[in-house]
């Protein structure tokens, strides 16, 4: 493949493929025309209209609320899971690993369905709380995998050195392990946060009437609503994502420099 242009061309093709729809979306959000087929002049009117859509902001509040909560819980549980998987290698851990790893590969619809049935069987009220529970469930696996990868690169002789110098296990963890793992844990938390904000299918299945998250609202807008508003909203969300991704890359870079 040394002289072949194929890899380069494919990569370029893939990148164009990735960004074409996004570019069209962003451009159209400033398009005064309603139908995006023709350009009718630059306009911010869709953004203005967006501003007054209360249901959208309410659903955004719900989404953020759930995301922060679910991230917090999932980060703690995911980190402890990563520790257990890294440090121990019993049969229990092999089963534990399967339990952690499977949610990453099963289709979301299965997870949504099974959680819905669980809540119905328990007679639980569907609402923001059930969405929260669902989000924690799939986020744990992602956090665990990220932190586990960091643990595998971690030089544990440092912890032994701390113990050798007089620190008990907890002191060593507090003074040495956690400060050095913090960037990795933060990266995992960021991933969980992004996944929670973006989740549609699972949230859709376990949401109750009146408990809408932003993705659910977007979905109903797509099905029944006004396309230009979605364009504007999408552009805003893209901007936020850019910032989050940039932050996450900075965190991983800083870790690489230590």
């Amino acid at each position: 493949m040394k002289h072949s242009r194929l890899p380069l061309l494919t990569t370029l093709l893939v990148l164009i493929f990735f960004y074409l729809p996004i570019v069209v979306l962003v451009v159209n959000s400033f398009n005064a025309s309603r139908f995006g087929g023709t350009w009718e002049g630059f306009s911010l009117k869709w953004y203005a209209q967006l501003w007054s859509q209360d249901e959208i902001w309410q659903s955004l509040r719900n989404t953020l609320f759930i995301a922060f909560g679910a991230t917090a819980v999932a980060t703690v549980f995911g980190t402890t899971a990563a520790f257990a998987l890294h440090r121990f290698s019993s049969r229990l851990q092999r089963f534990h690993y399967t339990l952690i790893y499977t949610p990453l590969v099963v289709p979301e619809i299965l997870m949504g369905m099974s959680l819905l049935l669980l809540f119905v069987a328990l007679g639980a009220q569907l609402g923001l709380f059930t969405i929260f529970l669902a989000h924690v469930t799939f986020c744990i696996s992602y956090v665990a995998m990220v932190v586990l990868a960091r643990l595998q690169d971690f030089d544990f002789s440092i912890v032994e050195a701390a113990q050798d110098l007089g620190a008990g296990w907890w002191t060593a963890a507090w003074r040495v392990l956690l400060p050095l793992l913090a960037p990795g844990i933060a990266a995992g938390a960021l991933l969980a946060f992004t996944l929670s904000i973006d989740d549609f299918v699972i949230s859709f299945f376990v949401a109750g009437p009146g408990s809408t998250t932003l993705p659910i609202r977007i979905y109903s807008m797509i099905k029944h609503g006004s396309p230009p508003l979605i364009n504007a909203l999408s552009t805003l969300l893209l901007l936020v994502t850019f910032v989050l991704v940039w932050l996450s890359q900075r965190l991983t870079e800083e870790k690489n420099q230590t």
Partner: protein, 292 residues
């Protein structure tokens, strides 16, 4: 021995939180899905008492085989296309300089983190009858005015490839990065042509990345719901659509449950096969390595 006992206690403590949570909210619900498939439905959309085989009988609906077949071949096609595109891309990225590589990685990750609903919607806009792509194709006389780019299996395939491609690129790139390219030089030194070296040295060398990529594209594809729902038409329904339809439109949970159980089995089969193959080679390392 005292120390062995201590370790056990620590281990249980650290394992418990995640283990219990996932057992209660992931493992058990999976079993519940199978159980509810055997229960009757109530007219109001709840689950009736007692057990019944009605639901199982409903699985012999004549429409289902077509849907199942379509789901499977669409997932296969998506996986094949994703791999075909991801391998040269991963190869290129792995051989590129560090700066280019980081830049490309960022470019690939960004769409992956963007709201996927929005990206699907973007395609709906792009392929809209009055949209730019249609107009360009008509202009180039590659399409009729009456053909619709939307709402068919082709569209679904396109958007599925679009959605799952980053999932394929990342593990293949990760494996290609670890690949020692001097092996290809050695192969060519021994007389192999580039293409042969590629197939006999490079591809086996990134085998684990390939397996991961196949896994993270094929299995979620089987359960696709939103994509056929938004850009697909009545002729491009997949199992996911039917499950959603039974749940929300028909309000028949046991039916939906039966379909979900079926999908679960279909999904478990390649997973179990993969884990079995991995176990036979005796490797302990995880098959998937997430790197966010």
């Amino acid at each position: 021995m005292k120390q062995a006992h201590k370790i056990k206690g620590h281990e249980l403590l650290v394992t418990a939180p995640s283990f219990l949570w996932l057992a209660l909210l992931f493992l058990i619900p999976t079993f519940i899905v199978f159980a509810i498939a055997f229960k009757p439905a109530t007219p109001l959309g709840g689950i009736g008492a007692g057990w019944s085989l009605d639901t199982l009988r409903s699985l012999s609906n004549p429409n289902y085989p077509a849907i199942i077949w379509r789901t499977i071949w669409l997932s296969f096609a998506t996986t094949a296309l994703c791999i075909a595109l991801a391998v040269p891309t991963g190869y290129f990225m792995a051989k590129a300089s560090r700066k280019v590589r980081q830049f490309l990685l960022l470019l690939i990750i960004i769409p992956f983190w963007t709201s996927f609903l929005i990206r699907i919607f973007a395609w709906k806009v792009l392929l809209h009858p009055d949209g730019p792509v249609k107009r360009a194709l008509v202009f180039l006389q590659l399409a009729e005015e009456s053909t619709s780019l939307l709402y068919n299996a082709g569209t679904v395939l396109l958007v599925m490839v679009y959605t799952y491609l980053p999932f394929a690129v990342l593990p293949i790139y990760a494996a290609a990065e670890k690949f020692d390219f001097r092996l290809i030089e050695a192969a060519r030194d021994l007389g192999a042509k580039s293409l042969r070296a590629f197939f006999t040295v490079f591809l086996p060398g990134i085998r684990r990345g390939l397996m991961t990529a196949i896994l993270v594209v094929f299995i979620p594809s089987l359960g696709s719901y939103v994509i056929p729902d938004i850009v697909g038409g009545p002729n491009s329904e997949m199992i996911g659509n039917k499950i959603a339809q039974r749940t929300f439109t028909d309000r028949n949970l046991p039916h939906a449950s039966a379909l979900s159980a079926f999908l679960t089995l279909a999904v478990m089969a390649p997973l179990v096969a993969m884990l079995f193959l991995q176990g036979r080679r005796g490797k302990q390392a995880p098959l998937i390595q997430e790197d966010a």
